[in-house]
Symmetry: C2
Subunit: 323 residues, 2 copies
DNA sequence: CTGAAAGCGCTTACAG
DNA sequence: CTGAAAGCGCTTACAG
């Protein structure tokens, strides 16, 4: 591989001058700079990350630990974070290995920071001393590192409240009910609390899975044996997609026959078969918050636990058109 | 961060001895080794990848370029490759950036090799000179780097042939028909050729997408207006999942009312609602082949273009139980 | 068996 | 503006 020494030789300067030119230092004469840059391109020079890192102590790399790589909303979030970090000159590198191994890897690589999409890593599964900031996206409480989370309970309160204001008192919840994963559990709890507070009867529809097809299957089964509630809250975008299909399949109309509010504030909700009313922290805000926290942590500032406030976006699916 | 010099100081030896001990060199006395290893653990030492790489010229890292991160079968493949490379002491690092950027990143990082899951990168979008082996998983032909591919056409021949042998002459194809992506196109071509060869009439059912829900929607729409073909070939596991649901939803039985063969040879096929007959290169074989090629390339051997031979696994979905 | 020395490819004070 | 020197954290011949 070509190094700055090769360029130096080709351009007839010292390699420290090459280094400065490559880093666009004002200390080098414009003409020299041009010559050097040309030679570099001509030789097909690619800077050596490792060597640079060794002296600068920065890798400009953030490790993302995400063994699952699934869910539309999480993928969307990863995409935004990747893009926004790139704009800051930081590269996201993803590992799908077990969290413990992935963290060890990023530690050896001296990533500037680690971002955890895996929510359920107890403190004791972490290396005893990790000289590296770590940020978790998830539900605070299970461990004590900095976390960006979402007020899932409040999101459900918003969802229930908009339906109640529209006159609904029969409100079902479509989601994975057996509480695998703290995020799912928090949503469900929020729903139950919001109904209880209003003296309404909860109707839990268990999807037994998190894919759109699971939402579809649960709703189809329900439709086959009993009428639907007047309105439904879907626990995620994926679930909502399946739910909508099942409802339309049965010849029912949204929102006329059943109103629907979906979790996950992502643009895809607007492009569903029926534009979906959604609650959740807008994915751009979530990504921005993660990126800001990451940058703060990298800058050596104190880690925080933050919970972001969900927002409600009303679209056709929860709004009954008067005719 | 603690370095080998810190350990040397703590263990009262030179840091070159520490280096040897850490690498389990036979040149260092067992007792000294033990002392050093203990001190290292005690101090929470993590080796610095960059420094090591700088001298050894190896990063033991393979970059995976996969902007999409979707599809069950691809995720399954990534998981297998990740695991098998880990067993070889190599770490897979995934980038979801644009392929060009991702490749540039892995180039600066001096990955030992790059694996492309993105199939459609023309040669001219690559850096002029990439001093690094690159392996593509996909359809050979669009570029000229080493490729591991699948004989999609033969897979479809297998699928059609097993159905024909079971007595079917009405065989539909469920998939994304407008040819986005060369993998999809190859499957479709294989199907059309296999039918043509037998003088059978092709029936293309366009899913207009690659998610399970797209398969479901396409089948539902079809069921609503006309009877199904006697048998169907689904272009992927995701599509098959949706297809099966739609068929059962309509009160039909597999394989009695419609026989089904699915693409993608992954264990998940056996666990579908109906165990699915599947064609494709078994995912472990595919992963093994990718890993072997990668290791060969890393060892400096010549790059090849290989196409693997799909296999047929017969399960209940294509087998009519005589009663 | 142990240690001193050179060097991997860079950046960055420091002289000139 | 340019270059020589030191040093980042390691490995690996080479002496002892």
């Amino acid at each position: 591989m070509v190094t700055i020494k090769d360029i130096a030789r080709a351009a007839n300067v010292s390699y420290s001058t090459v280094s400065k030119a490559l880093n666009d230092s004002p200390l080098v004469k414009p003409e020299t700079k041009t010559t050097i840059l040309n030679k570099a391109k001509q030789l097909g020079y690619t800077p050596n990350f490792a060597a640079k890192h060794l002296v600068t102590k920065r890798t400009n790399t953030v490790g993302l630990v995400w063994p699952e790589i699934n869910r539309v909303a999480l993928t969307e979030l990863a995409r935004h974070v990747n893009k926004m970090m790139a704009d800051e000159g930081k590269n996201i590198l993803l590992s799908i290995s077990d969290p413990t191994e992935a963290i060890a890897l990023f530690s050896r690589m001296r990533s500037d920071a680690i971002l955890l999409f895996e929510e359920d890593i107890p403190q004791n599964q972490l290396p005893a001393q990790l000289d590296m900031p770590l940020l978790s996206y998830g539900v605070p409480g299970i461990n004590q590192f900095p976390t960006v989370g979402v007020q899932h309970e409040y999101a459900m309160e918003l969802a229930v409240s908009t339906l109640v204001e529209s006159g609904y008192s029969s409100i079902g919840y479509v989601g994975m009910v057996d509480g695998i994963g703290r995020r799912q559990l928090a949503k469900q709890t929020g729903y139950l609390d919001a109904l209880k507070k209003r003296g309404l009867k909860p109707i839990l529809i268990d999807t037994k899975g998190l894919n759109s097809i699971d939402g579809f299957t649960a709703l189809s089964a329900l439709l086959a044996k009993s009428p639907l509630p007047e309105s439904l809250i879907c626990s995620s975008y994926d679930i909502a997609v399946g739910t909508v299909r099942a409802i339309r399949q049965a010849g029912l109309t949204i929102p006329e026959d059943v109103a629907l509010v979906s979790y996950d504030n992502i643009p895809q909700q607007a492009e569903a078969d029926v534009p979906l009313t959604a609650v959740g922290v807008p994915v751009e805000k979530l990504a921005k918050s993660l990126v800001q926290e990451l940058l703060r942590l990298i800058a050596g500032e104190e880690g925080l636990v933050r919970e972001l406030v969900p927002e409600l976006v009303v679209r056709a699916s929860s709004h009954i058109s008067k005719q």
